[in-house]
């Protein structure tokens, strides 16, 4: 069965989150992704919780096993000159190179774009970094979560006291991983028409700011510095999270017009609210939402967040449970959609993972396979792909190049 990226090979030097997520998406669409790491310098997430059943191990890490499924894995100690030579041999038979090292690393290894073009003239290179490959911040160390602060996202997320609070999970990284895949696909498309490869220099900070034009343009157009305002909307009300039955459970409700307002009043057993002058039109509702919210909370607290959402949706009102990740993993809708994937892994067995956020009709079966054990495909990459005799592979392992 054909997959969109059959015949495409990716030499994947990326590590941590954004780059690996990008290459995972390419792998599920059929690209052969060769992840290059090292026993001396394994990928960041191999040694981070969660571990399967709480037992640490480089092949037992849940985040790693989610971000890196469907890939092949080889180990090369890039401090060894023979290892660097081998990376060039891998690149020679690859279409795409992905890297997100700190500035200067690829240059020092002789793996900068100009050098790679000499090995493979039509190579596509994705080079991502926190702030871009040029400028005063080009060498700054960035983890995605710290870029929430740089980009202003942290300062725009918080309660009504206006204090910056931010997102407690990852956001910039997975967004970046997704747009990296898009950019590589655009470059592959261009290459398919012209035979021409290229270098893509991507900035994670700029990616996030591209998702925030409202605040940016308000400053540019009006000089306004926006502050956080909890779950409130520009104009819709009621528009908030309301407490539900159980511990720390909430339902999100958003009312967009008079019809929905009337439907909500009836659904919560308070039809008299429809004629309450404080809430009779959308502007009044918005201005009086501090009075309105507790009235709605009085109702929601009698139901679970799933129940409250279902009742309101039946009435034609936008509502949804605020799910914690364990609920996302078990959500009946997501399970029916097949979003949660089940993979059998040689060390940790059968587990569920966050899957792929799209379905393509002509790709009913994306390539889904457990994340690789560290060095799992050394034999395949060096002996089968590069054609090195088994004896030479053994010598390179003993010499510490393949390690």
């Amino acid at each position: 069965m054909t997959l969109p990226l059959d015949g495409i090979r990716v030499a994947d030097f990326s590590w941590v989150l954004a780059g690996p997520l990008c290459t995972k998406y390419l792998a599920t669409m059929g690209a052969e992704v060769i992840k290059i790491e090292s026993f001396d310098r394994p990928d960041y997430y191999r040694n981070r919780q969660p571990f399967a059943d709480g037992i640490p191990g480089m092949n037992r890490a849940g985040s790693f096993n989610t971000i890196n499924f469907s890939k092949k894995d080889c180990t090369l100690n890039l401090k060894h000159p023979k290892a660097v030579a081998l990376t060039k041999e891998i690149i020679e038979i690859s279409d795409v190179v992905v890297e997100n090292f700190a500035g200067g690393v690829m240059e020092r290894l002789g793996l900068d774009y100009e050098s790679l073009k000499k090995i493979k003239p039509d190579i596509i290179m994705m080079s991502s970094s926190g702030l871009g490959k040029e400028g005063p911040g080009k060498d700054f160390v960035a983890y995605g979560t710290t870029l929430h602060a740089f980009t202003g996202l942290t300062g725009l997320t918080g309660y009504e006291d206006g204090e910056p609070r931010g997102i407690g999970g990852t956001w910039v990284d997975p967004v970046t991983g997704t747009i990296e895949a898009f950019a590589i696909m655009a470059a592959l498309h261009h290459r398919s028409k012209t035979g021409e490869g290229q270098l893509i220099d991507l900035s994670m900070a700029e990616v996030q700011i591209s998702l925030m034009p409202e605040a940016v343009m308000d400053y540019i157009m009006n000089g306004r510095v926006q502050k956080p305002r909890a779950n409130q909307d520009d104009w819709m009300a009621p528009h908030a999270c309301y407490p539900c039955k159980g511990e720390d459970k909430w339902v999100a409700i958003a009312v967009a017009n008079d019809e929905e307002w009337e439907a909500l009043c009836k659904a919560i057993g308070k039809p008299e609210l429809v004629n309450d002058a404080r809430f009779a039109d959308s502007l009044s509702r918005w201005k009086n939402q501090k009075e309105l919210d507790p009235i709605i909370a009085q109702w929601t607290q009698n139901y679970t967040h799933y129940e409250a959402a279902a009742i309101l949706q039946r009435a034609g009102v936008a509502a949804g449970p605020s799910l914690d990740p364990s609920e996302v993993a078990q959500d009946p809708h997501l399970l029916k959609r097949g979003y949660i994937v089940t993979l059998d892994h040689p060390e940790v067995g059968v587990r569920q993972y966050a899957g792929i956020p799209w379905k393509i009709s002509g790709v009913p079966k994306p390539y889904l396979k457990h994340a690789p054990l560290i060095g799992e495909h050394n034999e395949y990459v060096f002996h089968e792909l590069l054609g090195l005799p088994t004896e030479e592979v053994k010598q390179l392992m003993e010499a510490g190049a393949i390690r």
Binding site: T157, M221, N231, V363
Partner: protein, 405 residues
């Protein structure tokens, strides 16, 4: 080799409302695809009625959100409830590679813009449908806005983190419309995969994107926390699965520091003047520092509250410590790094004049993204597009009088 646009050969029709479809199409338009954006006559796209407005005047050409989302696109109007409007739509579809739409599945079906109907008109058409919960499943017909999407995707429960009183601090949506934008991005990525699938098979494709799933794809680590260790990070934890989210007060605001590698921690300790407490056993590993964050934070604050966030940020980065100032939006727009990158560029517009806009977050060496046109006025390109389809200028008058455009 002559510089060109990577996606210049792709013809895209965008029939969508507000953000997700528009951003999906924008990503492709910025790389050279020809995008024709269809809006309802008279009222136009919802984004035209969205803040922020130029000088706070709610003009339909004054929305900063609309102006940003729809540069590099042609703009026409069509009423698909009108048979003539539908006919023109089908003519556009015949000549298109891709349709991007974000109507609820039942509405798309009623309008006759569902994949099954359109693939009969153009068997090679790729239809990218972006909906809150996807094209199937128990929530398929659920209504949603940004608030619902952000929360049902699971990241609301992780926002903000470091909550002291869960009852008084509900889970939040992030600022802006993050879920809508992320869904548009997922749509663009999947559309490119579909372009390749079509190249292999010769057949059109239906791309099905759920905003909930686009959001859920960002919570994979917390999902693994459950599937691997049956744990849920409580909202009271300041540091989540990746050790992020900790804000430390400086003299004039906040900074965030993530020193998870020991050499980074050691560099930070040196910057703070090697205080005695830093050598204590209780702070000796990344895990222990996270576990003892409530003890550690006030100690670090002894140093940070003496300095401005800019000072701290630059001093830390010079020593390779991952630290950033928590920027206000004015500080972002004024960033010297972003200025160096040329990230903001000016565009002229007849209604709002010359303004700067964020551009693209990547540089392509062979096919650099360009701003070719500003966002369209409502129905601005009706004449050009309809004449290309074979209508005369006289026809145009009658088409407008019938309300089809």
């Amino acid at each position: 080799m002559q510089k060109r646009n990577a996606l210049a050969d792709l013809k895209i029709v965008e029939y969508a409302n507000f953000i997700s479809g528009a951003f999906c199409a924008k990503l492709m338009a910025d790389l050279g695809a020809e995008v024709i954006k269809i809006e309802p006559p008279g009222i136009g796209d919802q984004a035209r009625r969205s803040e922020p407005f130029f000088k706070d005047v709610p003009d339909s050409d004054g929305s900063g959100l609309f102006l940003y989302l729809n540069m590099n696109k042609y703009g026409i109007t069509l009423d698909l409830k009108n048979a003539l409007g539908t006919k023109i739509f089908h003519q556009l579809i015949k000549g298109a590679d891709i349709l991007i739409e974000n109507w609820p599945p039942s509405v798309a079906k009623k309008l006759g813009i569902d994949y099954k109907t359109l693939s009969k008109i153009n068997p090679r058409l790729i239809v990218t449908s972006i909906t809150p919960f996807g094209q199937n499943g128990p929530y398929r017909d659920y209504k949603a806005t940004e608030l619902i999407s952000f929360h049902t995707g699971g990241i609301g429960s992780r926002t903000p983190g470091g909550v002291t009183d869960p009852l008084k601090e509900p889970p939040l949506k992030a600022g802006g419309h993050q879920a809508e934008f992320m869904a548009g991005l997922a749509g663009a990525t999947a559309t490119m995969f579909a372009v390749f699938a079509r190249a292999a098979s010769g057949k059109g494709q239906h791309v099905d994107v759920s905003v909930q799933e686009a959001v859920a794809s960002t919570t994979f680590g917390d999902i693994a926390n459950w599937t691997y260790e049956r744990k849920v990070t409580p909202r009271t934890t300041e540091f989540g699965m990746v050790g992020g989210g900790g804000l430390i007060p400086a003299k004039d605001g906040y900074v965030t520091v993530l020193g998870n590698q020991d050499y980074q921690w050691n560099a930070l300790v040196e910057l703070m003047g090697n205080p005695a407490w830093a050598k204590e056993e209780r702070f000796s590993s990344f895990i222990s520092r996270i576990e003892r964050w409530s003890e550690l934070k006030p100690l670090i604050m002894q140093w940070t509250t003496q300095h401005s966030k800019e000072e701290i940020y630059k001093a830390c980065q010079a020593k390779r410590v991952p630290c950033y100032a928590v920027n206000r939006i004015d500080e972002v727009v004024q960033s010297e790094q972003l200025a160096f990158r040329g990230f903001f560029q000016e565009i002229e517009h007849p209604k709002v004049g010359r303004l700067r806009y964020p551009t693209t977050p990547y540089k392509f060496s062979a096919t650099p993204p360009q701003i070719r046109k500003r966002a369209p006025l409502l129905g601005e390109d009706n004449a050009e597009i309809l004449v290309k389809l074979g209508y005369s200028k006289e026809d145009l008058i009658k088409i407008r009088e019938a309300g089809a455009i």
